[in-house]
Amino acid sequence: MSTSQSTTSSTVRSRSAPAARRRRNRGARHGGWGFAFFAPFLVVFVVGVAAPLGYAAYLSLFQDRLIGGTVFVGLENYRRALGDELFRAGLWRVLLFLLVQVPVMLGLALLAALAVDSGRLRRPGLFRIGVFVPYAVPAVVASLMWGYLYGDRFGLAGQIGDFFGTRLPDLLGPDWMLASIGNVVTWQYTGYNMLILYAALRTVPTELYEAAALDGAGEFRKAWSIKLPAVRPALVLATVFSIIGTFQLFNEPNVMQSLAPNVVSTSYTPNMYAYNLAFNGQQFNYSAAVAVVLGGVTAVIAYAVQLRSMRKGQGA
């Protein structure tokens, strides 16, 4: 399959100009079909994304008041959100999480991908699939498992502590909770990121390694000069997804809340705050504004990372 594909793509490239023109004409003639194939996505996109987004933006401009009912307040909700201590604390928390957990996770994923790709492992297939398995575990189940493991009730943490005759720090306590959540997320997604990076590594042509070996490059040199540049685009993609995921943190802290209600507050992460504002506080308008700000911050940071790395990629 791979050979037939590379030959077709090279024939396409070597086609003459008239052929290219003919291709464009042909494309234009059937252009309506292109839109028809796209249309179902457009419908679900409008219903599932665009409409809620627009509705959120609309709602965020109003306030429900005891006297006068729902009134238009312009950007008042946004002003309130930007000055909201609880919201800001949640944002700082996920930012801290982002700066620590994401590099750790992606670093581990990269090392694992390089190891699996190195050809120097026994049973690489076993490691590849084994490290990936946690990805198939729902966040709720992962959080429940780790939550039980952390706890001293019947958790491993307590048992290991007993074994050594000491008490381990309370992993569900206020000092350790964020790290404990970070561990759950790292556990779930390291294998997934490893596979994305590994897939990118697999596309490096063997001849490149052979040439490097002839030039006397060692394994580390090869990893640094050939493999890292090769996985750059995949690494950027993984980073962007991790940033989005981190800002949206909800499932793990929400489950942990039932295990440690005094530690995980209702505004622990911005997303939990938006949820609790809406469903426990009935402040739908303000909740919509918080969700819009959160989405905006996420998109801007994700986009900035993408842009910066793209520019760097061109410079190199």
Binding site: S2, F45, L53, L121, A142, L144, T206
Partner: protein, 296 residues
């Protein structure tokens, strides 16, 4: 540019013990909670509390626990399992199919607004799904579909990343010359798509399907918000409800430790189908994955 599916034969160097050991540690980390979960599912409440986590307790209660899980509350667990299956199969299957058609349309046809739509898809990847959850609830409650399966299914059908992946994949996997040939033979565009192109797109389709499957199977935030009737709950929401009953966080105050075996065994049953699906379909999704990761 090389085609994404190009395969490099793995180079076999001398196996390194140190490297293998390091990866074994990582594998241990990945499997440790799963081993614990399995062991915990074989225990009754008493041994759950007092036996070592990574080994069996007194007696083997796995089948008894499974029986309890399935029969509790008139078999509500099976209902949740069925709901999850419905959301996953219809939601993920629909999402993968819609994304495949859209990606194919973008890659293989030129039409007005194509560039703008492609840019929208890329932008939509960065729109965080869960930020939309609260507005989605409000909109759907206006439309009167809150607390019905539609409220979970409709948002699940949107997979911008799937469209992006399939666009890259279709550009490589379906040669223009083949579409041309089909047209000369008089085949309609739809027929060509279903009979010829779809087969060429299969590995990409399976990849998108599997990732959509994970997303819907694991979906928690959205169903938590849009559903209040337990009979429509997926497993994730149901299990956390049981957990709240076990820890006493549900508000009743009384902690019912007898729920722990239910939560643990229910969790184990919930993860089996996806793990099995991934193991059996490895060959497909691994080749599809490389397509998406090569290009930006």
């Amino acid at each position: 540019m090389r085609t994404p599916t190009t395969r490099r034969r793995p180079r076999r160097g001398r196996a390194s013990n140190a490297l293998t050991l390091a990866m074994a540690l990582m594998l241990g980390y990945a499997l440790l909670p799963l081993v614990w979960l399995f062991m915990a599912a074989t225990k009754d409440t008493a041994s759950l509390m007092d036996s070592f986590g990574l080994w069996f307790g007194h007696g083997f209660h796995l089948f008894g626990n499974i029986g309890d899980v399935l029969s509790y509350d008139d078999g509500i667990y099976l209902r949740w399992f069925g709901n999850t299956l419905l959301y996953a199969v219809v939601g993920a299957g629909g999402a993968a199919f819609i994304a495949t058609a859209a990606g194919y349309g973008l890659a293989k046809y030129r039409f007005r607004g194509r560039t703008a739509l492609a840019a929208t898809v890329l932008g939509a990847i960065a729109i965080p799904g869960t930020a939309l959850a609260v507005p989605t609830y409000l909109l759907f409650s206006k439309a009167g579909i809150v607390d019905t399966p539609w409220a979970v299914l409709l948002p699940s059908l949107v997979s911008p990343f799937g469209v992006y992946l399939m666009r890259v994949y279709a550009a490589e996997a379906v040669p223009d010359s083949m579409l041309e040939a089909a047209r000369i033979d008089g085949a309609g565009e739809l027929r060509t798509f279903f009979t010829v192109s779809l087969r060429l797109l299969a590995p990409g389709f399976v990849t998108v399907l599997l990732f959509a499957l994970v997303a819907t199977w694991n979906n928690y935030f959205l169903p938590l918000i849009v559903l209040s009737d337990p009979k429509w709950f997926p497993l994730t929401v149901g299990l956390n409800q049981w957990n709240s009953l076990a820890t006493g966080a549900a508000g009743s105050g009384a902690t019912t430790t007898d729920f722990y075996p239910l939560v643990v065994t229910g969790s184990l049953l919930a993860i089996v189908p996806l793990v099995v699906a991934f193991l059996f379909l490895q060959r497909y999704w691994q080749s599809g994955l490389s397509a998406g990761s090569v290009k930006e």
